[in-house]
């Protein structure tokens, strides 16, 4: 029994080690943060050398990149998109809007903390974060995956009621 557990742990570790080299991102570009992504993935900064490539549908993607502020209308779509993705899946909060609302801190229509509604693995602070900061965020996520600490999707499954209640409060579902 012990041998089997050790083998399984080793298997998961090897898989995590390989998995971190291939991350496909779904860029949810409703806000100004999207403008920093083209330089990140094209010639100058080239995210593809880490295996990070932009993809177009939620079924194929691993990273949900939330670029900038989320208002109440887009939060509904964001949750749908997140739940369509296949685990293991990771969320990156991009820019200060996803941390505390940023410059929209007193707006009635903006969701201030993304963390309450979706499990965020990595935050990239800044307004705007530069391509270098974005790459640093990706590298951090890769490190977390390698160490087995990027467990946002497990957290979402285990605390599903908590997240749903928070979502219900805002969306009035």
């Amino acid at each position: 029994m012990e041998l089997q557990e050790t083998l399984e742990e080793g298997y998961v570790e090897i898989l995590d080690h390989l998995r971190k080299r291939s991350l496909w991102m779904l860029h949810y570009c409703t806000a100004c943060g999207a403008i920093e992504l083209p330089p990140t993935i094209t010639s100058r900064f080239d995210a593809e050398r880490f295996g990070i490539a932009p993809f177009v549908t939620s079924r194929q993607s691993d990273i949900l990149l939330v670029t900038g502020y989320i208002n109440i209308k887009t939060l509904r779509r964001l949750i749908t998109v997140y739940e369509q993705m296949l685990p293991p899946k990771y969320v990156i909060g991009f820019g200060s809007c996803t941390i505390n609302g940023g410059i929209y801190w007193d707006s009635y229509a903006i969701v201030k903390r993304l963390d309450l509604y979706l499990p965020v693995d990595v935050y990239i602070a800044g307004c705007m974060p530069t391509p270098m900061a974005v790459l640093e965020g990706f590298r951090t996520l890769m490190k977390l995956i390698d160490e087995g600490k990027a467990n946002g999707w497990k957290k979402y499954q285990e605390n599903y009621e908590y997240y749903k209640e928070n979502q219900r409060k805002v969306l009035k579902w």
């Binding site: 998995r19 080299r21 291939s22 593809e48 050398r49 295996g51 177009v56 079924r59 293991p88």
Partner: protein
């Protein structure tokens, strides 16, 4: 007998790894043309491992699950009808015509599978895939049959042996070779003929609802298909090869030339793509056929 069975088991594995190498090389080369560093050479393998190790899968029905299986199965079957230097495989039981016939099954499997997902983008992608097939099959079949008339046989292995010693059809029948190249290029779905996948228009077309293990299987099929299409061109026009190594090197050459075109073109609309195929490659192939028919064998 044992040797033949071992060959049949070994060839799809070889095709898979060669296909992965070709795809990885292509991604690296595209990156270098863009002045990027590019992903490592084994990046497609990492992608497949990642996709196959997903924890959950979403299914839309039985045919949705069977579609990728049919795609990979058809790809493996096609590989067995493609001779490699020194190994005849199943070519005694199926010739050029059987090969062209089997090559289509994979796309049909994908069409059936994607159709069940009910996504409008998938339907558009399938319609485009089947329409494009009408386009590139015509010059490909004319070019193939030109060689049949020239050699008086439909055996793919004989095509290879008859071209040995630099009697390549690329030099002897340049017009047919050009038509065959454009048709193969269209079959690979490179720019400007990537109307099927077209991420910006139809969100990867037939693959829009596929994710996780389904997509992993599709990518395995894609790697094998890359091997098949380049290998088919090498056998018809570049004289096969003296051994497996030269065969793979010639495939690499085909991929390099294709990538050079692939990186600089935008995308056709579907009707323009079909019109192009029915006009230029078909015309060139017909002229090549005429030359062989009149000029003697």
């Amino acid at each position: 007998m044992v040797k033949e069975i071992l060959t049949l088991i070994f060839t799809p594995i070889l095709a898979f790894f060669v296909g992965i190498f070709l795809l990885g090389f292509k991604r690296k080369m595209v990156a270098r043309i863009h002045r990027r560093y590019g992903p490592p050479l084994h990046q497609p393998l990492l992608d497949i491992i990642k996709l196959l190790s997903k924890k959950e899968n979403i299914s839309h029905g039985v045919m949705f699950d069977l579609g990728p299986v049919m795609y990979v199965g058809a790809a493996i079957l096609t590989v067995l009808f493609l001779p490699i230097p020194g190994f005849k495989q199943l070519t005694p039981f199926g010739d050029l015509i059987a090969f062209l016939y089997i090559m289509v099954i994979g796309s049909l499997g994908m069409a059936l599978g994607a159709g069940e997902s009910g996504n409008p983008n998938a339907s558009i992608g399938i319609a485009r895939a089947l329409t494009l097939m009408l386009g590139y099959e015509l010059p490909l079949i004319i070019a193939g049959n030109t060689l049949v008339i020239k050699y008086g046989t439909t055996d793919l292995y004989k095509f290879m042996t008859l071209q040995s010693g630099f009697h390549w059809n690329l030099f002897l029948l340049p017009l047919t070779a050009i038509a065959g190249f454009i048709a193969t290029y269209g079959a690979m779905g490179e720019h400007p003929f990537d109307v099927v996948v077209a991420p910006q228009e139809v969100a990867t077309g037939p693959m829009v609802e596929y994710g996780g293990k389904h997509l992993g299987l599709l990518m395995i099929g894609m790697a094998i298909s890359t091997y098949i299409e380049t290998g088919f061109f090498v056998i018809l026009f570049l004289g096969g090869g003296a051994n497996i190594l030269t065969f793979i090197l010639k495939q690499l050459g085909v991929i390099i030339v294709m990538t050079l075109f692939d990186t600089v073109f935008p995308r056709f609309r579907i009707e323009n793509a079909v019109r192009y195929f029915w006009r230029w490659p078909t015309l060139i192939a017909l002229v090549g056929l005429l030359i062989v028919y009149i000029g003697g064998k």
